[in-house]
Symmetry: D3
Subunit: 115 residues, 6 copies
């Protein structure tokens, strides 16, 4: 999980584990131990697909922000991430996509504020 989303992983799991350790255990073991352990799709593509889904789901902005970091960590450029969110307009329309765009901007602002 750290190799995908970096330090965000530890913060996320610590927050979840503080509430219910069983949930945190499942989150790490299942999502990263089982689902992402195969090498068929490269990590960059997996993370862009995750960002795409979380855009479309509309209510998943905290998780989207984790996977925007995941996309950056696995080699996507900022423009690729913005482009994928924009392409999602075709699949979720305008209510969900701009909310995602604002969440992406929050991550960029946090990471690149001094540029």
């Amino acid at each position: 999980m750290r190799s995908h989303v970096g330090d965000a992983a530890d913060n996320w799991i610590a927050a979840i584990g503080d509430i219910y350790p069983e949930f945190a255990k499942v989150n790490v073991e299942f999502a990263f131990g089982e689902l992402y352990r195969r090498d068929i799709v490269d990590d960059k593509t997996s993370e862009l697909c995750a960002a795409a889904d979380l855009t479309v789901q509309g209510f998943a902005l905290p998780e989207l922000k984790v996977h925007v970091k995941g996309a950056l960590n696995t080699g996507s450029s900022r423009e690729e991430i913005l482009e994928i969110v924009t392409q999602m307009i075709a699949y979720c329309g305008f209510p969900a996509a701009p909310n995602a765009l604002l969440a992406v901007k929050e991550v960029f602002d946090e990471l690149y504020a001094c540029e």
Copy 2:
């Protein structure tokens, strides 16, 4: 649109245009004329992201089948498509993902029946 999803494009647009030409016009002009005209993300990644989203949305199996063809046409292997659908379990749980898997199988059966 043809470069993405092949012959499926013409069938889809003909069916839609027969009902309401304005809808078909928007479908082609907007989705493929505007959203997919930039070169920032390669077509293979775009189509896998589309397949991922349509898996998660749950009710979008006819469109998923169009984009499974799109993924194959833009260079994804069958195993990559199956893997992306399986990874989506993390984002949509078990109700939506197996339905998507069955839709993917229908496309593979249609295209590769004689193998």
Copy 3:
């Protein structure tokens, strides 16, 4: 309920009531007895809003077909219904809207087959 959707009301309620009479009772009493008893919004607008929502929800095609009849019964033209479904592309993207368009066509075919 009959004043909105016509004969489709009786068929729907009979099918539901055969499974669980409590459900049918709630369906009539609540949806039509309580929610639609006020005169603030005219019936035509209410039925177009219903058709719009059921388009966006994606999985609600049987109910959409009931409310397409409701829209026709309360004074909408066929073109107005097609236009509302098309406008919904902005709110739900392309997966849900074309499925709705196909459901609308089924109702039109059923009602106007001889024209």
Copy 4:
């Protein structure tokens, strides 16, 4: 409604009724007067099912918090509520479930802060 969710009922209805009294009237009369008046399923199970649904829907965190109180008021332990939210991972994946977990924690913190 008070027997299910306790004092939270009055606050909720007062806030809604201040905006549109018709909405508050429907909320009490329909949801609690009609849907929950039968004795076929016990209140504890009903409230856990409500918490489960609101977890899966993803965007319904204010309502989830009302029904977490409802679950506690009708005899569920804190661990049972955490367990049901965790089981929902199977049905909604990781985007919706952790957000629900955080909302549950807010209710527990509010109610049990001094323990």
Copy 5:
């Protein structure tokens, strides 16, 4: 877009365009240039349908607030908007509808605070 939602249009597009100009371009050109350019459905009905959809989608409160202004600008009364949101209970249940009601109230408070 200005004729629908007024000044809210400029603020929205400026915020979006600051993040990714392509997204803002698509938002204006497609949603308002293509989808809303025909005269088949009047603007008042279109905006009420938009408000109805954004109520049902649950996670789209920022966009709902834009279209509540759109509904007011195109001739709907406050009571008509409240009534449409209330009718949506039939299509989305109680989790999404009260959240929408609270968002509508925020717009009314902002616009009519001095009344």
Copy 6:
């Protein structure tokens, strides 16, 4: 998984495994090996919560039918299942709930046709 849903488990896993064995492996190991292995919530309540969620999600009718069998196998009466689906009207409105009711009826017809 067999203890929850009975023979339906084997059919489901065989169908999924035929398409992509990794998916079937995850389905059994994760959903039943990890999520349902704790004893905090009894199986009957878990299965009713599952049926409730799959009702609300709207597009998950094949999975709902598996868990209706699961609910019957873990001690729920037919009337309890019908009641839970009916209560879900409060959380998902009328589009999703009647579709679920029809799916429940299909399971009852299959299992109890000769009564």
